[in-house]
Structure formats: C-alpha cells, structure tokens
Subunit: 372 residues, 2 copies
Amino acid sequence: MAAISFEVEHQDQETSARTGRLQTPHGEIQTPIFMPVGTAGTVKGMKPRDLLEVGSQIILGNTYHLFLRPGHELVRQMGGLHKFMSWDKPILTDSGGFQVFSQAELRKITEEGVEFRSYLDGSKMWMGPEESMEVQEALGADIIMAFDECVALPATRDKIQDAMDRTTRWLKRCIKAHSREDQALFGIIQGGIELDLRRAHLEELAELGLPGYAIGGLSVGEAPEDMYRVVHDLAPRMPAEKPRYLMGVGRPEDLVECVAGGVDMFDCVMPTRNARNAQLFTTYGPLKIRNARYKDDPEPVDPECDCHTCTHFSRAYLRHLFVSKELLGSMLATHHNLAFYLRLMRQMRSAIEEGRFSTWRKDFYTSFRRGV
Amino acid sequence: MAAISFEVEHQDQETSARTGRLQTPHGEIQTPIFMPVGTAGTVKGMKPRDLLEVGSQIILGNTYHLFLRPGHELVRQMGGLHKFMSWDKPILTDSGGFQVFSQAELRKITEEGVEFRSYLDGSKMWMGPEESMEVQEALGADIIMAFDECVALPATRDKIQDAMDRTTRWLKRCIKAHSREDQALFGIIQGGIELDLRRAHLEELAELGLPGYAIGGLSVGEAPEDMYRVVHDLAPRMPAEKPRYLMGVGRPEDLVECVAGGVDMFDCVMPTRNARNAQLFTTYGPLKIRNARYKDDPEPVDPECDCHTCTHFSRAYLRHLFVSKELLGSMLATHHNLAFYLRLMRQMRSAIEEGRFSTWRKDFYTSFRRGV
C-alpha cells in the first residue's frame, strides 16, 4: 500500500551511521546514498546511461524549474518525468519552496503561499502547498517533498520560529492535498541551528507519521561545524525506521560527517556544478584542472578512480578541453565527479556493513587532506 | 611498407559509385565513408565510445587548431593525437592550409608559406609546407594532407591557376619534408570549377604517385550543381586504385551525388555544427527542433532511426533541452546527426554492393524531400 518501504540493515556501533534499503515504485535504493541533481529534467552533461554507469540509484528533479519550463502539464502529458527524461529508476522532487525563497525575485509571502516572478520572462507566478503537490504529482516522482519555508542563516529566533510554524501548517495542507498513492511525501524539519527549535519541530512532524523526514534549512550560510552539531543532535532523534534526508548537502567531508550522524540521503549540485567550473574531486583532495601545472600531466584526474574519464583520459587532455571551452570537458568532468561521489557513498556503505566505518573515516581524511 | 593500402571491392554499373576497403595503421575503413570532424582533438559533445557507437571508422583533426592549441609538441609529448584524445581508430589531419587561408587574420602569403596571426592571442605565426608536415607528423594521424592554397570562389582563372601552381610546388616540398612511413600523404587537386584546370592539375599530381588524392577547393561558395559537375568529371579520372577524398563536403544530398561521382571519403562540420544549432537530419528531411510544433511531440527525432537519441528521447524532450540551453541537447542532437550521416554511408555501401545504388538514390530523394 505505502509507496515506499525502508529497512535499516546495519547500524554502526561507534557512530550513528547506518545502511539500509529503500524500496520505491521504480526500484531499490541502497542507503546512505547521494542523489545527483537534475534540475531541468537532465543531470547536466550526463545521459541517463552515464548516470547508471557511475552508480546513480536515484536522482533529484527541481519542481521550481520544471514548473516554469517546460511546465508540469507538459511533463504529465509526456508520461511523467521518468518517461520524459528516459530515467526509469527512482526520482525525488523537491517542493519548489527553497528556490522560490532563495532565487525568485519580487516574492510576496502570505499564509496562503508565495507570489513570485518567473526568472524566464518576469511573469507573475504563484505557489503554495497545494500547487506544489499538484506540480509534483504531475511530475510523478517516487518521493516528493512538502512545501516549506526555509530561512537564510543567520536569522533571529523569532524568524526561525515563524518559518517553522508556517512549515508545519503548510505540511498539513500538503498531506491533505496529496493524493497519489505511488508517491511518498516527506516532511521537512526546520529550526535553523537552534537545537531546541530543531528538536521541537522534529517532535511536531514525527507525530504526523510520514514515510520519511528531511532536514531542511542547513548549508544556507552557517559554518560546517554548526551544521554537523545540528545533524549529529537531530538525526539520531529522527524516526529510526524511516529514511533521513539532509537537503542540499554537500562537500565530500560533509557527506562523511553526516553519514556518521545518521543521515541516509543527500543531494547537492556541487559535484556537477564544480565539474563544469573545472574543479574535480579526487582521493587526494580537490584539483583545479585549468591550472598550468596539469598542462603536460599524463596522469588521470584521480589515479585511484576507475571511472570512464580516469581510465581513458589524462589531466593534460582535460585541461586542454577546458581551456578550449569544449563541451567534452564538462561532460568528462561531470562523469568523474559523480563517480567520485557515488563511490564515496559505496565505500561508506561497505565500511558500515563490515563494522569498520570509524577506521575508514580516519583513512578518508588522511587521503583527502593530503593534496593532489 | 606503405602506410595504407586500398582495394576497390564493388563498382556500380550505372554510376561511378564504388565500395572499397582502406587499410591503415589503426585499422580498416570501409568506403565510401564520412569522417566526423574533431577540430580541437574532440568531436564536440561526443565521447570516443559514442563515436564508435554511431559507426565512425575514421575522424578528422584540424592541424591549424591543434597547432595553435594545445600545440603539436604537447600532443607529441602526450603520445600523439590518438592517445591524447583516446581514439585508437584511424585519424586524418588536414594541412592547416584551408584554415590559414579562410580563417586567419592578417595573413601574408609568399612562396615560402603563410604568415598569419593566432586567433587566440593575436601573436604572429608561420606555416609553410615543411611546418605543416612537421606538425602533422607530431600529431601522428594515419593520413595527412599536403599544404595547399585554396581560393574562395568565384575567382579569376589567373588566380585559380596561380593557386594550382603553388599547390603543386608546395606538394613537392611536402613530399620531400615528410618522413614518417606510418603516415600516408595525400595530394590535393585544385582548379576551381574550371574543368580544364582541374584535369590539368590532376594530371600533374597523379604523376607523383601518392597513396591517395583529394579534391580541394570545392564547397567554398559555388553552386551545388557546379560542384557536382566538377566532381562527376574529375573523380572518375582520378587513379582508380587510390582513395578519392572530397574535402569539406557536405549536405546529405551532396554525399549521395558525390558518391555517385566516384568519391570514397568525405568530411564536414555540418552534422555536428548543425546539431549544436538545433538542426537535425532525418529520413524525411531536416528538422528544426526548437520549432514550437515539437513542443508536445512524443515521437523520436527520426522514427526510422535506431540511434540512442531516437530510441530513448522524444522531440518534445529535445526541444525542452535546447530551449533550456542544456548541454544534453547538443550531445543528443550530435549523436543523432552523426548516426544519420554514418547510416547514410552504410546504406550507400550496401546499395552499391547489391547492385541497386540507382534505385536507392531515387528512394533516398523521395523520402528526404518529403518533409518531416
């Protein structure tokens, strides 16, 4: 009956890290997992088969962007987002809330919802909890997110409390509006970096018995230590039998720390966006491929990586592609960065399963901080 | 001993069309063949494995661009162009002459060679026959082209004659300068659209006993009918036992007409460049995918095509990608257009082998002129 089911498989003894299996209408996901971001119905520069090759199990689509272009009705008419973009594995869509609050211009927030202007043509648009549900039902993702109010940090306690309260009221409207039984609706916990507010909001939301919960409103300007403090306090208090999703996070070290805190799901534009800006992730830390030192470097981007990019092309070639502004540069870099992120998640899953997560975590930092 | 060997397999009875096999140090090519253009060491938007998937047997690299960036010495140091770009099938490089004459600024032509300014930083550069050979030897293609003077049409007979004569003198210097035995040097026949000049130049060049000959200086402003007239007159007079290469051509119908004229090899940026400009080739003619009529069209780009793009994505999705300026749009369009061109060549090879080329040619036009 439920759209998804989740089972924790291994619980680490020294940290809150855990592995699990999440069943969805489009297949199983092994957690902890990273979700590549496919903003406009495509993970930039990657064919769906490339996504599978690097180990993607679920991708994220942005409701805000798809709502504005090509429009959710068109996607519905084309058979839903899975069919439209030729990806028949799980998809999660965000609610559009984050982008409406952080990117849209001239927004006007009321209890009903948010009025904003389209970044495409300046036309007036409207989105509230009911509209977010309608759009996400048209897109047809396996997991959909509640329409929430996310505040940029730093913010006053009053402002955070207000956003929390509104998020709860809007969540209840989302639950009421949501009708597709083949989609799981996740609630989003707000509360800034105030532990007491976060705990209070979690308590409110947990009572609603949703199939999964997300931590929203982090990675929005606060220090990484503040984010870790909140996640390490909050995640272990979240329902243990439900998937825990940390939204919009993050750097490789953030994934490691937050898996340790008990998070199961992540998404972030970092691997894909940085790839297009010629910043590559490697076992020995980040690498800016445009740097002149790589001009005649015959080594692969990451000598420890077995992805298509690293097994076929040199740093010198990738640098040439970026310097020459060739499409293939972004394609190969994106392929590698996603392979790196998804391998990182696989490594953590294995380490947790085999009871050596803490050792692995120490080794990861030794390598990652060594420098290329 | 020779770098390449060529054998004609089937000769069409009604036209000059023929099939053949061309052996090179990096494998065999079935002719007639189309060579995708990889200007700067990459066919834009295609991984080498994608090139193989659509049936590419040989690609073309531009000496002019690679000379300026990343520089031929770097490519040599990285093991040659095949290794640098991870393509271990045959490569042909042009001489740089065409680009120096048509694209470079402030060029000064003397008997020695050409002085021009780099389009990258305005610095003074020099290229003559010896330099072109040096660069092409460093790049290491299987087939390299003589440094020629190509004039834009229309031009006076005197100007065409001068360019022809210089091309012959430069060819002799190329032969003298060329030393790598694993590379085949092709000569280039000039002569504008004057049949007597073309025949005279062919006669001069044929005496030099080169392993292959190209028709240069076409598709440079003349009417298609003039090009066909020259090719149909000239190609059958070119040495029958050597591959015949028509440079920089062309549209699908140009390939059909010039195969009928006896040409074995073609290259053109049209399928790749047009793809990036959202113009797709189909069995039923060209299709501009940005057109609003494709907004909600669930059909593949070409219903008769079995390429990855056509078997996985709709016109509506491709239109969305182009309208949204997504990388994947150029990638999928390029994949399809090259698949279309290479299938066209396969179809012609089969038709020639099976003695039904004239019928096929008629059927091709019936479909291609029908309209999408």
